[in-house]
């Protein structure tokens, strides 16, 4: 139980699948993030809006802007 982020009393009040496990987080920490399903030709297209992507806390974050025609 020491791996759980919540104690037994808290867990009794949480849904079955809605628990965070430290060991589970550690398992996935630092693993390579999947690249977003974005093709190169769309990144630079005028109407795609993704000006650039950056790795933010281990996640790809897309920066976008409003566009209109």
């Amino acid at each position: 139980m020491e791996n759980l982020l919540f104690d037994a009393e808290e867990l009794r009040e949480l849904p079955f699948n809605c628990r965070l496990y430290k060991n589970k987080i550690k398992e996935h920490a630092g693993t390579k993030q999947r690249k977003p399903m974005l093709q190169e030709r769309f990144v630079n297209s005028a109407h795609h809006q993704n000006e650039h992507m950056e790795l933010y806390k281990g996640f790809y974050k897309m920066i976008t802007r409003i566009i209109s025609t």
Binding site: E13, I25, I66
Partner: protein
């Protein structure tokens, strides 16, 4: 002018906007950050109602918007009162509740006006009640897996006539990302035997018999047209390509007329003009209804099955009907 309310990183929206450009139909795409307090004013004058939105420095009347596509972003309204008031007393808490009620009604009205003016989907129906949908699906004649919502592990074995190793759990509502320690965890459909521990008591949770599937169906629908794909996968969730450790096979699927009619009837009953339906076909070729996602992803189905759904959606937004 077509208004698109989308997530900033939604690739499907990118494709649809490409088609709109190709069709030379003017549109404006807005993201969640643009939609906070987007209402400029509501005016009733001489019996005529007009709702104005303010987007950046531009004010536009809803009547000038020919159609709105609600694609995973919300119009919402929120007073800055909670930021400037630090009393932390009962009066402040009650005022927050008062504002929340006002904002909810305002948002509902504005979204409703956009929808009434012609819309694809509606933010008011981004979330459907999965339990009510199961009831509706069963009433229409679909089989649904044995399901139990309980607080006690013992009840599961008593209700679900299946090997305890073949029971899944999933959220009653949509998944919600729990962000912690630089990562995020959602609550995907999971075999309960796969979870690290299985407590005897917990808060209300949904458990379901895992259907012994031949394949899964993902069905995108738009105005009573259904675009179905069969997904061959060994994973609990057919879309989880990593559960299989191999590429999942997705092929176009022709729905039997009877199933299509039932689905059309279900969409009518729950008031959805667009969305994605999940079904499972078992080894005896029985159709199990699983759930409907009003704003689900359809891109992988479109791509794998050559359905060109982005073009169809763009044409629907532009012309208000689907090309046959």
């Amino acid at each position: 002018m077509i208004l698109i309310l989308s997530e900033s990183n939604d690739v499907s929206t990118d494709f649809v906007t490409e088609w709109l450009q190709h069709l030379q139909v003017p549109f404006k795409r807005l993201h969640q950050d643009d939609l906070r307090n987007a209402l400029d004013r509501i005016v009733w004058k001489d019996g005529r109602l007009e709702v104005y939105l303010r987007i950046g420095e531009t004010v536009m009347a809803i009547s000038d918007i020919s159609r709105t596509w609600f694609r995973r972003a919300y119009i919402d309204h929120q007073s800055g009162f909670h930021k400037v008031s630090h009393k932390g007393n009962a009066l402040q808490r009650q005022m927050n509740t008062l504002l929340s009620r006002e904002e909810k009604d305002l948002t509902r009205f504005v979204a409703g006006q956009l929808a009434a003016n012609g819309a694809l989907s509606n933010q008011l129906y981004y979330q459907v009640n999965k339990l009510e949908v199961l009831v509706a699906a069963q009433a229409i004649g679909f089989k649904i897996p044995d399901t139990i919502i309980t607080r006690d592990m013992q009840d599961i074995a008593n209700c679900i006539d299946a090997d305890p190793e073949q029971v899944i759990t999933k959220s009653i509502c949509d998944m919600y990302p729990l962000q912690w320690d630089g990562t995020a965890q959602i609550q995907p459909t999971t075999l309960i035997s796969d979870l690290p521990s299985q407590p005897q008591r917990f808060y209300y949770s949904l458990f379901q018999q895992k259907v012994d599937k031949k394949y899964e169906l993902r069905i995108f629908f738009l105005e009573q047209q259904f675009f179905a794909a069969a997904i061959f996968s060994r994973g609990t969730d057919g879309r989880d390509i990593y559960a299989d450790n191999e590429q999942v096979r997705i092929v176009p699927f022709r729905l039997p007329d009877m199933v299509r009619e039932k689905l059309a009837s279900l969409c009518d009953r729950i008031g959805l003009a667009s969305g994605s339906i999940d079904m499972i076909i078992d080894k005896q070729d029985q159709y199990y209804f699983i759930e409907v996602n009003p704003a689900g992803q359809y891109g992988y189905i479109s791509l794998a099955c050559n359905y060109h759904l982005d073009r169809k959606i763009a044409e629907y937004l532009a012309y208000g009907k689907l090309a046959v």
